[in-house]
Every structure is written in structure tokens, then in C-alpha cells.
């Protein structure tokens, strides 16, 4: 048979041979293509989303599923950075993607949960996150988690205890567990013990977290906070015993208050600042320029 069955061509080429050639072309191109695609900045994997009204108009009745796809893409993007110890995520784009996701489906709990888990602690985007959560609560008015998150953000990050109590009351009206937490939180608000408050909040959050990347992320933070709390208690004990603040963290070991200085799970070293507050050189983030910008 001649080339493609057309007579007049000198070299006979069988379709099977052509198939083989095309297969070689595909295999030969897909491998370098995959390498090129993998070499793109992780941000490129997050994609670009037009404004929510445009996406909604183009998606017909699939907007709800699309909303979930967008929030899952944020999770995969963040998960990749956590696993690869990659650079600091593009928080602005994550926020915009989550904003689009919640405008497409205001009931999408994954988007709110993810925003609360990373945008507050890591990105320091407290106000935008609270706005996002408040928007969600105007729809998911049966869900105690949203006022619970908002309350924590007001108390821990903004130190606005009046607002925090207001939202905690709303959460407690919806769920008994939140009521239990509100008693605990009230005590911490009163004592101004932010580390204990954050720890109690994380311990409430971790068991209900299904995604492994986020869970690991939260557990490391909880571990670091536990160690900070341990040191803060040791500093209090030192003050009680010696009526003054220790000059350095090593003094706590020297005076036998603690056996040794605990390790920071983020790889940093704990120290005392000029006011005697426990700090860490890691600022609760991995590596130099690693993801996470929260200051303890």
C-alpha cells in the first residue's frame, strides 16, 4: 500500500508504521512536556480565575461543583508547598481563589475551613478571613464552626474580646461543644493567656481535620504552642520563686525549673525577649523564607 493509499508515492508506508511513528512522537514529547510543566512555579498550578459572576455565568448549573474544585485546588497547591517545603505561598491568590469559590457557592465549607486554617495563622490576613467567614455564616446559619472560628480570630489575633464573646455566644447557641469551649475561652480571655487559648482551639480543630497536609500543619503548630506554654509556665514559676524575670531561657534550666530547653518543631530556638515573653527564632515557620509568616 502506498502512503495513505494514494498512488504515485515511491516509498510504501503501512498504517501500522505510521501509527508507530505517531506513538514515538507522542512518547517523545510527553516526557519533556511533563518535565516543563512540573518545572513551572507552584503558583501556576493554582490557576487563574476570572471574577465569580463571569465564572458563574459560564458554568451553567455546575457552579457548585466548580466552587469545590477551586477550593480543592487551593488545598493541593498549599499541600504541595507543605510537602516540598517550598517557598512562601502566594496568599493573595489563595484568598482570591477562595473568595471566588465562596461567591460561587456560599455554602462551601471546605473553602471557609481552609481560609481559617491557613490565611489567619500563616498569611496574617485576619480581617479578610473574618469577612469571608461572616459571609459564610450569613448562609450557613446552622453551622457553629463558623462563629467559633470568627470568635477565635477576634480574640487571638485582634484581641477584640467583646466581639469574640458575641460570636462565641452564637456558636454556643448552636452547639454544646462550643458552649464547653466558651467557658474555657472566657477563662483564657480573662487571664489574657493567648497561647493556652490557641492551643485549646487547635485541639478542638485537629480531630475534625480530614486532610493530612492541613492536619500535619496544625499538629506541628500545636506542638510548638505546647512547648511555648511549657516555657511560659516555667517563666511564671521562676518569677514566683525569685521575684524577678529570668534574664535568659537557660536560667530556667540552671535553676532546675525545667530539665532542658524543648526543641522548636519548626527548627528554631526559643528565647526570652526584653519583656520576658517566650519567643522563637523560627517565628513558627519552616526554614529561611519558608512558608508561614506568623509571629508568635
Amino acid at each position: 500500500m502506498n502512503l495513505l493509499g494514494i498512488k504515485g508515492y515511491g516509498v510504501p508506508v503501512r498504517p501500522v508504521l505510521l501509527l508507530g511513528i505517531f506513538l514515538c512522537v507522542v512518547v517523545g514529547s510527553i516526557l519533556p512536556l511533563t518535565r516543563i510543566r512540573d518545572g513551572r512555579p507552584v503558583e501556576a498550578r493554582l490557576g487563574f480565575y476570572p471574577p465569580a459572576p463571569v465564572v458563574k455565568a459560564l458554568s451553567g448549573d455546575h457552579y457548585q461543583f466548580l466552587s469545590q474544585v477551586i477550593s480543592l485546588q487551593c488545598l493541593f497547591y498549599f499541600g504541595t508547598l507543605v510537602e516540598e517545603q517550598g517557598p512562601k505561598p502566594d496568599w493573595r491568590r489563595i484568598y482570591q481563589a477562595l473568595y471566588t469559590s465562596t461567591r460561587l457557592d456560599p455554602y462551601n465549607m471546605d473553602a471557609y475551613y481552609f481560609a481559617q486554617a491557613v490565611l489567619t495563622w500563616d498569611a496574617g490576613m485576619i480581617r479578610p478571613t473574618i469577612e469571608l467567614l461572616e459571609y459564610g455564616f450569613s448562609y450557613r446559619n446552622w453551622d457553629w464552626y463558623l462563629p467559633f472560628y470568627i470568635s477565635f480570630d477576634y480574640a487571638y489575633f485582634l484581641k477584640d474580646y467583646t466581639k469574640a464573646a458575641e460570636y462565641l455566644e452564637k456558636a454556643a447557641e448552636l452547639n454544646r461543644r462550643a458552649a464547653w469551649f466558651s467557658t474555657l475561652a472566657a477563662r483564657y480571655y480573662y487571664e489574657g493567656d493567648r497561647t493556652a487559648l490557641a492551643l485549646a482551639y487547635l485541639k478542638e480543630l485537629i480531630p475534625t481535620t480530614r486532610n493530612e497536609s492541613i492536619k500535619k500543619h496544625l499538629m506541628i503548630r500545636a506542638e510548638a504552642l505546647e512547648r511555648i506554654l511549657e516555657l511560659e509556665e516555667a517563666v511564671s514559676a521562676y518569677r514566683k520563686r525569685f521575684q524577678r524575670t529570668p534574664e535568659s531561657i537557660e536560667k530556667l534550666v540552671e535553676k532546675g525549673i525545667i530539665e532542658r530547653i524543648p526543641e522548636d518543631p519548626y527548627g528554631g530556638s526559643f528565647y526570652l525577649d526584653e519583656k520576658g515573653k517566650v519567643r522563637t527564632t523560627s517565628k513558627l515557620a519552616f526554614g529561611k523564607g519558608g512558608y508561614g509568616v506568623h509571629k508568635n
Binding site: G60, Q64, L72, D105, M109, D110, R210, I214
Partner: protein, 269 residues
């Protein structure tokens, strides 16, 4: 008239059941539904909700493809095979022929949605055992959601059939129906925007009138969309449902009447 309707309906139904493309679309839809648990487990907090919205999206996509394919070929096939000439020479009205064929189409879509719906419900039921959600899945709303989705397809089918009665090519009714299907999910949002202060400031009066006109002329598919009620258990509004059903019946009626008028005036060469 009723006998003729039933006869043509049965004919369309038989033709549809025998059609391999129809079976292929249904099988692809069923296979996609099988992937629901794989997709759903990625969710951080709402496995069943993600599974439900994924299933509904697949049912909607499969149903849309089925409707477009069936409605597009409803008249075109008879015109191509020239069997319509035989029908026109018999002492039966063209309206009965058209309505009968549409009845067959309606039954076929109903059956397809029922199959996909049962398949999906079975999967979701199992998934809910393993991942109980914040709220139990609202099965009544699920059935109602599928019912109203069915009415969207009937209206899309009506639009395609109406265009088929005037068009001379397959492509035009298909393209117009797809365009109108997507546009009809946005007419309500467009109307809200033109009425808002932002819309009043930014849009010219002509555009605003056009935006309002689009809402009144095109079907408002957002009203038929019960996904939030199905997926998140948001309360159903019985009055809204009643009026949506009436609106759907009226709109479909208008489309079929226009199609009948147009088809009865069509000249076959």
C-alpha cells in the same frame, strides 16, 4: 388525537431505546458516577456534600447531552429519511405528530434521569454511612431537585424542537439551545445587577432595559436549581416550588405551541 399522540410517543420511545448513542451517553454518565467516592474523599470537611454536588453535575451534564441529542434528531432524522412526507400525506395532524414525538422524548429523558438518579442515590447512601455529614442528606429535596432538573431539560428540549421546526441545518438549533441553556442560568443574576445601584450607575438605560427583557423572555433556570437545598439541606420554599412548576409548565406549553404553529406552516419540498 390521544391515540395518535401515544402512537408517535411510543415510536419515538422505541427509536430512542434502540439508539446506541443514547445508551453510550447513559453508560458514560453511569461510569462517571462511579468515580464519585474517589473525588469526594478529597474534601476537607464535607465529603457527602462534595459527592452530591459532583453527582448532580454529572447527571445534569449527561441529561443535557441526552436532551440535546434526542431533541436535535427528533425531527431531523424523519426529515432526512423522508419518512415525514409519508406522515404528512396521512390524515393525521402535524401537531399530533410533533407532540407525540415530544412525549416520547419526555419519557426517555425521565427514564434516563430516573436511572442515573437511583444509581447516584445508591452511591450517596453508601457514602453517607462512612462519612456522616453535619446534616443528613435531604432525600426529599434530592428527588425534587432531580424533578426540577428534568423540567429544565424539557424546556431545553422544547427550545431545540422549536428551532428545529424552522432551521434547515442540525447545527443551528444545537448551538442556539446550548447558548440559551447557559444564558438562562444567568438571567436572574443579570436582572439583580441591572437593578442594583452599581448597575444603575454603570449601565446605560438601553442596556438596563435589555437586561430586564432578557430575564422576562428567556427561561429563568435559576428557579429550577435546588442544589443548595439538596446538598446542604437548606429549607425548601413550597410556594416558590409551586410557582416554579407552574412557570415551567407554562413556558414549555408556549414553546410547544410555537413549535406546532411553525411546523404546521413549514413547507416540505
Amino acid at each position: 388525537m390521544v391515540k395518535q399522540l401515544i402512537a408517535f410517543g411510543a415510536l419515538a420511545l422505541k427509536g430512542g431505546v434502540r439508539d446506541r448513542i443514547l445508551a453510550a451517553i447513559l453508560i458514560v454518565g453511569g461510569l462517571l458516577l462511579l468515580t464519585t467516592p474517589v473525588v469526594a474523599v478529597f474534601s476537607m470537611r464535607q465529603v457527602v456534600a462534595l459527592a452530591t454536588s459532583y453527582s448532580l453535575s454529572i447527571i445534569s451534564l449527561t441529561g443535557l447531552l441526552l436532551t440535546l441529542f434526542l431533541a436535535m434528531t427528533l425531527l431531523a432524522r424523519d426529515l432526512e429519511q423522508r419518512s415525514v412526507y409519508t406522515v404528512c400525506s396521512l390524515p393525521i395532524s402535524r401537531s399530533s405528530y410533533l407532540l407525540g414525538k415530544f412525549l416520547g422524548l419526555a419519557i426517555l429523558i425521565f427514564l434516563a434521569l430516573a436511572i442515573l438518579g437511583c444509581f447516584s442515590a445508591g452511591g450517596l447512601f453508601m457514602l453517607e454511612r462512612f462519612y456522616p455529614g453535619h446534616r443528613p442528606l435531604a432525600w426529599g429535596a434530592f428527588a425534587l431537585g432531580l424533578w426540577f432538573q428534568y423540567w429544565v431539560f424539557l424546556i431545553v428540549g422544547g427550545i431545540t424542537v422549536l428551532f428545529s421546526t424552522v432551521a434547515t441545518s442540525h447545527f443551528l438549533p444545537l448551538a442556539l439551545s446550548v447558548g440559551l441553556y447557559f444564558a438562562s442560568y444567568s438571567t436572574e443574576a443579570v436582572r439583580y445587577f441591572v437593578q442594583s445601584s452599581g448597575g444603575q450607575e454603570r449601565l446605560s438605560p438601553v442596556v438596563r432595559v435589555f437586561g430586564q427583557l432578557v430575564y422576562w423572555v428567556l427561561p429563568n433556570f435559576s428557579a429550577f436549581d435546588l442544589k443548595a437545598q439538596v446538598v446542604y439541606g437548606v429549607a425548601l420554599d413550597s410556594r416558590a416550588l409551586l410557582f416554579t412548576q407552574l412557570y415551567g409548565c407554562g413556558y414549555l406549553g408556549i414553546l410547544l405551541m410555537l413549535a406546532m404553529i411553525s411546523f404546521s406552516r413549514r413547507e416540505f419540498l
